[in-house]
Subunit: 465 residues, 2 copies
């Protein structure tokens, strides 16, 4: 009789029994043709239910280890030992030294997940599961049509652009969609990025061996003469809110960027509008895409910042000429976002929850921004430090007079505070002057009172420099 000791873990009893019998067959303890005990007997012997034994036997039978003979029982099938491979993988991960264990970390990409509209999301979740008709079918490669329609309406109403749902492609993050754009253009094109620029953009271009030029900015946006002095033909820009400088590209500069693109057929603009929802004063500025008359702008946005990074839903809108290429050659790629999330998000937008949520978190983050500025003011910091980039986004810049970036960062570090040096975001081939050092502090990941305490601590450190 088979005897096993059931372990008190989360593996179901039938699975433990299945594994035990399988091991016996594989090791040769149970031989070909041998009859297994009846379900009733084995159940009695092991003090488990007959159903448990039956489930284990059925699993073994379905995998060919045993065979069921009518009105007789289960018999061990011939077993080829050469199929069993002793397992020799000895990989063990190295212990890594954790470097981000600061007490206070002014992360620029934190999202306050307590703001997430859990009850509404759960309700829509249940609704979708009850409807369940189209939940499992393969998704349109561009993404759920319903969601694309909702995004199209949202963009029309809030971002001042007309984008047909068929132009929208939903993907698991801007990173994925940028990878798709690189494939659509091929690596013969020359990309341009703003300098400074969000790390990941340049990393993705580098790792895909795309030739990249770095274009500096002035207060109005990228400097057109500098752009023109390069062989760039695809320019990545963040006109709504530059990361990390916080510059909003002015209307005349936007028109110059569009004119640059119009000069040659192979020129295009990648507009990343990811932070446009977090503007704290003044009117929202329509997307640059709205100025495009010649199929020059590819528009990107994401729900990572507005909802939750773990949702992984971003989208891009292709102009007609590129859409044609995509539809001819790239439709074989499956959509990377589960239909479940897409259908919930559609309802979330359609019923006005997204807008309400945006208003709510915009106010929350505005309050936090004000806490940073007011705390700086209370500490009388503004004679030696100035703040910029505070009109939008979830971080701001603090520039010191005659203190270098390294000194600022190390002083904070010694007090167990992590701040980010502006020079980190510049491409290495540009000599960035850090005499008047600038640090970046993100405020979105703190509760209000935590933030006040953290900024007070930072002020104390900086004042002593």
């Amino acid at each position: 009789m088979i005897t096993i000791v059931f372990e008190n873990n989360k593996i179901p009893l039938y699975a433990q029994l299945y594994s035990a019998i399988k091991r016996e067959i594989e090791s040769g303890s149970l031989k070909t043709g041998e009859k297994l005990p009846s379900k009733r007997k084995l159940a009695l012997h092991l003090k488990i239910s007959q159903i448990t034994v039956e489930t284990a036997y059925n699993q073994l039978a379905s995998e060919g280890y045993i065979i069921s003979k009518a009105r007789s029982g289960f018999y061990v099938q011939p077993f080829d030992n050469t199929l069993i491979v002793p397992n020799t993988n000895t990989y063990t991960p190295k212990n890594k030294t954790i470097s981000n264990d600061y007490k206070i970390n002014f992360l620029t990409n934190a999202v306050d997940t307590d703001c997430f509209p859990f009850s509404v999301w759960s309700k829509l979740n249940r609704e979708i599961l009850l409807e369940n008709k189209n939940l499992l079918k393969a998704i349109n490669p561009k993404g759920d049509l319903g969601l694309r329609e909702s995004i199209s309406k949202y963009l029309h109403q809030y971002r001042g652009v007309n984008i047909h749902p068929e132009q929208i492609i939903i993907g698991a993050g801007t990173e994925y969609l940028l990878g798709l754009i690189i494939q659509i253009f091929g690596t013969d094109n020359i990309f341009g990025v703003e300098n400074p620029c969000y790390h990941k953009i340049t990393k993705i271009l580098d790792i895909n061996k795309v030739h990249t030029n770095y274009i500096p900015l002035d207060n109005d946006g990228i400097i057109i003469d500098k752009l023109k002095s390069t062989n760039t033909n695809i320019m990545y820009v963040t006109p709504s809110h530059h990361f990390p400088l916080g510059i909003v590209t002015t209307i005349p500069r936007r028109q110059q960027i569009i004119s640059w693109a119009n000069e040659q057929d192979n020129r295009f603009i990648l507009e990343d509008d990811y932070d446009s929802e977090f503007r704290y004063s003044g009117k929202p500025i329509p997307a640059l895409q709205g100025l495009d008359r010649n199929n020059k702008v590819i528009y990107f946005n994401t729900f990572a910042k507005t909802l939750a990074p773990s949702l992984r839903i971003a989208y891009m809108a292709l102009p007609e000429n590129l859409l044609k290429i995509y539809e001819e050659k790239f439709l074989f790629y499956s959509c990377t976002v589960p239909s479940f999330e897409q259908q919930i998000l559609k309802k979330f937008i359609d019923r006005g929850h997204f807008e309400q949520h945006l208003n709510k978190i915009r106010n929350i983050y505005k309050t936090r921004r004000d806490i940073v500025i007011n705390t700086f003011s209370e500490n009388n910091m503004f004679d030696r430090f100035s703040i910029s980039g505070e009109k939008a986004g979830q971080h701001l810049l603090i520039q010191a007079k005659n203190i270098s970036e390294n000194v600022l960062i190390n002083a904070a570090k010694n007090a167990n505070i992590k701040v980010y040096g502006l020079s980190e975001y510049y491409s290495q081939n540009i000599n960035y002057n850090t005499e008047n050092g600038t640090i970046i502090i993100g405020y979105s990941g703190f509760k209000n009172d935590e933030l006040k305490t953290a900024v007070n601590k930072l002020c104390k450190v900086l004042k002593n420099l």
Copy 2:
């Protein structure tokens, strides 16, 4: 007083009011400094609640269109018309002729979504939403550690391989992960694929401009001499169940493939194990990865076939040397799968539901396979047609004697039946003999009685040839 006609659609009243007032400001009908009616008055006038008016006013204020003055009311802010861009996007999608409107379609990649374990999935879904602690945080770039641990255990128990959870990378589909592999290797390497091969694999390699060799198979797997006669250094194989031929690579051939890889440092094997769960007779064959002693095999699998294509969860396991490269250079890529799905799937595996589900659908698909074979037998087809590739997967091959593939496909087409020609899966530079034509029919997307009717119809058509 503002007057608007509310439309009886799903847009909330406050949003309609918001849009109406915004239009008035943008068009200049409401002028800078003008005072808006009080909430009470406007609510009375429009016969809506004061809350609705308040929500609309707050939205306009948060976007800077109006400003609230304490104890006075809301006033229109200065508005810069140059920001408003007339919208000229006139893209309208072309009407496409739909080509796949067959009455009967023997798709090879259909999943019977009625088999999906909805009640269990919903239950786990609710559990996860109630726990909600880690649901929203940015995910580990490799994927949820809990899910990777569950996959590691599953692979050990069912696929005979030891893979450490840290070696596993979860991604939104095998397509995405293959893209990542191409980035890790760079495009200087020479890939090999089986010939014939699943369409998408070659498309992804082509579109990424990867040089690819096509390696033919005999009944034991890819032909090693043919592989050696090329400059291939990264070979993509499906040893558990070749698509579409259904060949299971034999143990000696597996050892030869491993030996080939061991001959040179830059040689690797991509093992796609996607169909290994659907084996209807005989023992499951452990993955080729289990034979690897020298960090040569990258193992891929997906839940698209075993659960639902719309879930978008696949994974790969990297050998130690490649894992090092990934960890040095690729960790900046965010995980492409929402944490929500990952956490549900983890519980689904841990509690034995995945195994139960596999047993259930394996039996269902086995029954359907038997229906195809029995219906062919009942129609006395076996004098002129033979069946192969029936031991696993969700499709089988029907080879005719002295009837070409085109004749088979067109005869079916005339009867409104879609079958797939084997030659479609061969690379074009190989001259595939279609004298004794072979068609592929998938059976997983039909209900049992539908399938019987469909196969009977197909048999009638083929008999008349």
